[in-house]
């Protein structure tokens, strides 16, 4: 119990630092800054208090917003993912998710990548829609969502296989 708490705090801090110091300055092709911190929602323990999860997600988003001067855009996207995560997991992992002894170990790679892809898609859709907040720019929003989303997804898959939590 204590161990997961420390791991999560460490994750929080490291993901914020990596995001704001490295990935916010990437500017790949002039506009792609992947949001690597969504990995937090992928790694967060499955069985936990949802209220605390949402609070953590809000704080994580807000901290990144303060660093990147995009007030509350990341917070909004993060809270939405935290709220929708059980539904997304049920969608990706099927009935298995409702069993007590469910863990990532007995899921296939495709299921996990789908899960990550949906998280990234929802996050980016919310982020870029509210960043631009204009229906006239719908093409620009979609372009940003897909271009950034693909890069984020690839990086997240790489990171998640590099630092796969063995204990969980």
């Amino acid at each position: 119990m204590n161990n997961t708490l420390i791991i999560n705090i460490l994750r929080f801090v490291l993901l914020v630092l990596t995001q704001v110091l490295i990935f916010n300055n990437l500017n790949f092709l002039g506009f792609i800054n992947p949001f690597i911190y969504v990995l937090f929602f992928y790694w967060y323990p499955i069985k936990g208090n949802r209220a605390i999860f949402m609070l953590t997600a809000f704080l994580l988003g807000l901290v990144i917003d303060i660093f990147s001067d995009t007030l509350a855009l990341n917070a909004l996207a993060s809270v939405t993912i935290a709220y929708a995560r059980p539904a997304i997991m049920r969608f990706c992992f099927g009935v298995n998710y409702d069993f007590q002894n469910f863990s990532f170990k007995n899921t296939t790679k495709v299921q996990r990548i789908t899960f990550l892809a949906i998280i990234v898609l929802i996050h980016h859709l919310i982020f870029f829609s509210f960043e631009i907040l204009s229906i006239a720019h719908i093409l620009l929003i979609l372009k940003k969502v897909f271009a950034t989303g693909i890069v984020t997804l690839i990086l997240c898959i790489l990171f998640s296989s590099l630092f796969s939590p063995k204990s969980e």
């Binding site: 209220a51 949402m54 917003d65 660093f67 001067d69 995009t70 917070a75 809270v79 509210f130 631009i132």
Partner: protein, 271 residues
């Protein structure tokens, strides 16, 4: 009553989500129309120091290039100085008589990909920085100081949909507003230039004298393309910026000492 409590308890996660989403939405929408939040911005001590530490490391990678740029600017200024007719320029400047005061600063965080870009610099209140000072680079303009903490400040870049800077065509007195349509970080738009003005692609755009933030004639960019707006009475001009917004390190802050007097006078006139 029991039922209401049960209902709330049953959907407590949904209520919590609605609460957080509401807070974020209010903050987001406020940030679209009003000034940047006074409290939540990257000029604060924690965020500023972390960016400062990060930029201490990364600044070594392009030190040579940055030095070259500064030496080139020095050379230009020397040429100007030696060729000016006024030989009194070598005497130390009387700072009480000067209208504009210039401070130097370094960027600790740059941003140019979002629709509302803010950059953070490593000088704050302690060094005499305050809100609404103009910020320029070695080549052109960068933006206006928006929030100041003790050691850091955030600058609203010209690449910000909220930015609106007075600019004119060099050598004339026709002025308009400089805005940004978020499409390209190398190009900003100049609007409200009347139709009768003769324009040529390649003309230089400089800051106008209507604002008390920037001195007159600070270079901004050159005309890349122009066409008439919907009402056919004003031009929409695409201006290619002189400063490379993706690669900025050293900047200058400009303080207009007459600003308070001008503003006080203007506000009295409006009343």
């Amino acid at each position: 009553m029991q039922r209401i409590i049960n209902f709330v308890l049953r959907y407590r996660n949904a209520f919590l989500y609605a609460f957080f989403a509401f807070i974020s939405l209010v903050m987001t929408i406020r940030s679209h129309s009003y000034h940047q939040s006074k409290f939540f911005n990257s000029s604060r001590w924690v965020t500023g120091s972390i960016y400062g530490a990060g930029s201490d490391v990364s600044s070594y990678f392009n030190l040579q290039e940055e030095n070259k740029r500064l030496v080139e600017e020095n050379q230009q200024l020397r040429t100007l100085l030696f060729n000016s007719q006024n030989d009194g320029a070598k005497e130390p400047l009387d700072s009480t008589l000067a209208t504009y005061e210039v401070l130097d600063a370094k960027l600790v965080k740059n941003s140019y990909t979002s629709p509302r870009n803010y950059v953070t610099i490593d000088k704050g209140e302690k060094d005499g920085v305050h809100q609404d000072m103009g910020v320029i680079t070695t080549d052109g303009i960068l933006g206006i100081v928006e929030n100041v903490s003790n050691n850091f400040a955030t600058v609203q870049s010209v690449l910000n949909t909220k930015s609106n800077i007075n600019a004119k065509i060099k050598g004339t007195e026709y002025f308009g507003s400089l805005i940004w349509d978020t499409n390209n970080f190398k190009v900003v738009q100049l609007i409200d230039i009347p139709r009768l003005v003769p324009l040529v692609v390649g003309d230089t755009i400089v800051t106008g004298g209507m604002s008390s933030i920037f001195p007159e004639n600070v270079p901004i960019g050159i005309i890349k393309k122009y066409d008439l707006n919907a009402s056919k009475s004003f031009y929409n001009i695409d201006v290619e910026l002189f400063s490379d917004m993706a690669n900025i390190k050293n900047v200058y802050l400009i303080e207009n000492k007459d600003k308070e007097e001008i503003e006080e006078l203007e506000s009295r006139t409006i009343e």
